[in-house]
């Protein structure tokens, strides 16, 4: 199978690889996929108090297309509000990277990673703004 030039470029020069400190209150983490399926993506977003994604990092276990999809997503989300980032569709990734049909699932996983990370952010934000309530529930 031949890879598109953009997939190769992201694979060879991945953007924003790495990890943020997990205990940073502004960092949200989404981990999607499973090792036995051959794909796991970890996407971390640094989100400011106004809900704008300041920075992003990823780590991916998966094929070249999965690595490229997550690398591209980190570029795509930067500067977006979380609401705008939630609007990102996997088809955008497919188009940008010219993914063949057998690699569509890589783009779906990348979209899921955004949703998982933002879900984590919302959850943690809720916990932070209602500490008293959370404590009283225990």
């Amino acid at each position: 199978m031949a890879y598109s030039n953009k997939v190769i470029d992201h694979y060879e020069n991945p953007r924003n690889v790495g990890s943020f400190a997990k205990d940073d209150p502004n960092v949200a983490t989404g981990i999607v996929g499973a090792p036995e399926c051959g794909d796991v993506m970890k996407l971390q977003l640094k989100i400011d108090d106004s809900g704008v994604i300041e920075d992003a990092r990823f780590k991916t276990f998966g094929c070249g297309s999965a690595i490229a999809s997550s690398s591209y997503v980190t570029e795509l989300v930067k500067g977006k509000t979380v609401d705008d980032a939630l609007q990102i569709k996997n088809t955008q990734i497919v188009e940008e990277l010219s993914l063949p049909p057998v690699k569509i699932h890589c783009s779906v996983l990348a979209e899921d990673a955004i949703k998982a990370a933002i879900g984590d952010w919302k959850k943690r934000k809720g916990e932070r703004t209602q500490p008293a309530k959370a404590a009283s529930n225990e």
Binding site: I8, P14, V17, E36, G38, C63
Partner: protein, 405 residues
């Protein structure tokens, strides 16, 4: 990036220039049909085919007339299994094989089950890929007509106890077929000593041309009969009609002759390279696992799982090294290797497996280069792998709650 290194010799091998040289006259000057009995062109072709039959027979200790030419090992497997099942249908309908066989055997068996022509027992293997001869013995019933067990596995290189199974088959009066595609020319094979009644071979795995294979069919003790799959001119003792691929057969014969003559030194050299590759990778990388048997394997085969690094992405990184992977992403079915699965290798590790297949044209320099490139690329991809990070943090990946869709 450096020069391209081919290390996928279980998939196919480059043709030896000496083989090509032997073949060339049979495309042009000596183009005759081996079945033309009444002129020089036909006689030349027939003579060349006879020589090849002898060369092939000598390599496996068979008589030349016991060699039936086919288009390749897939056809040989089909002919052996379907031909026996059809011919001996009054005697029984039970076939015994193993779960790690090549698809040419497994899918042939499945086709026979589907059409109700055979009942098939698929034997399990141990974690190193070996079939237990005792399991074969237990599986034999009074309906069993054929055992089909490969000599050496194409993915993990595990060498089955073929001689023991052959002996067992003789005792029980069951025919024994072995797909020896990967082993022929690499290791000594003796159809007499091993009790093999039918054996599949192909030229392109031993530095011969593609599209040319053979089926060994025992002529005596017992004389094996087959129902042909192709009807026509009755070539090859009626077992396989069709004009013979004379240049291919000449090349096949030459390839067998060369492999036989050089087997001992080549097997030793291959083993040295394999051991170096094994050591080089295992010394420099953690979390690497050998798939298959530590010693009872093809000398040129090394199959390794590089935990936390997906196989296809590793292949992509090794773009100037030709190897193959058991990862789902590299297979047509999107399932990881069924062979590794049969060994009990989890899907997570199967996705990270790479098969290295050393061959005649590899050198120690290739091995050193491949070690360096693989180590570099595995490290790069592990730096990018969330699983490696998690494992290093002490997270148990097996019990972790993955967010599956």
């Amino acid at each position: 990036m450096g020069r391209v290194i081919y290390m996928d010799n279980h998939a196919t091998t480059p043709m030896d220039p000496r083989v090509l040289e032997a073949m060339l006259p049979y495309f042009t000057d000596k183009f005759g049909n081996a079945a033309s009995r009444n002129h020089q062109f036909g006689w030349d072709a027939e003579g060349a085919v006879d020589t090849a039959r002898e060369q092939i027979g000598r390599l496996i200790h068979a008589k030349s007339k016991e060699i039936i030419f086919t288009s390749g090992a897939t056809e040989s497997d089909n002919l052996a299994i379907k031909g026996v099942v059809e011919f001996y249908k009054d005697k029984g309908n039970h076939v015994i094989t193993a779960v790690t066989e090549h698809k040419a055997v497994l899918d042939t068996c499945k086709a026979l089950e589907r059409t109700g022509k055979a009942q098939v027992t698929y034997l399990q293997v141990d974690k190193e890929g070996l079939v237990d001869p005792d399991d074969v013995r237990k599986a034999i019933t009074d309906k069993t007509i054929l055992i089909s067990l490969m000599y050496a596995n194409n993915e993990i290189g595990t060498i089955h106890p073929v001689a023991e199974v052959g002996k067992l088959a003789k005792e029980k009066g069951v025919l024994f077929h072995s797909d020896a595609t990967q082993g022929v020319g690499k290791l000594p094979l003796d159809v007499e000593a091993m009790g093999i009644d039918l054996m599949s071979l192909t030229a392109h795995k031993l530095y011969g041309p593609k599209g040319c294979g053979a089926l060994y069919v025992r002529s005596k003790g017992p004389r094996v009969r087959l129902t042909p799959m192709m009807d026509g001119g009755g070539h090859e003792r009626g077992m396989r009609s069709g004009t013979l691929n004379v240049p291919g057969i000449v090349g096949f014969g030459k390839a067998c002759e060369l492999s036989g003559a050089e087997m001992e030194t080549e097997a030793g050299r291959m083993l040295q390279m394999r051991e170096r590759l094994h050591r080089g990778l295992f010394e420099q990388l953690d979390e690497v696992y050998l798939n298959g048997h530590p010693t009872q394997r093809l000398p040129g085969n090394l199959n390794v799982s590089f935990a936390f690094v997906e196989g296809e992405s590793l292949l992509m990184g090794l773009k100037d090294v030709a190897v193959s992977s058991g990862s789902a992403c590299t297979s047509a079915t999107l399932e990881p290797s069924y062979v590794l699965k049969a060994l009990g290798v989890g899907d997570d590790l199967a996705h990270t497996s790479i098969r290295f297949g050393l061959g005649r044209f590899n050198t120690m320099e290739d091995v050193e280069d491949v070690i360096e490139r693989v180590v570099r690329e595995v490290r790069r991809l592990r730096d990018m792998s969330p699983l490696y990070e998690m494992a290093k943090e002490g997270i148990d990946l097996k019990s972790y709650q993955w967010a599956r869709e």
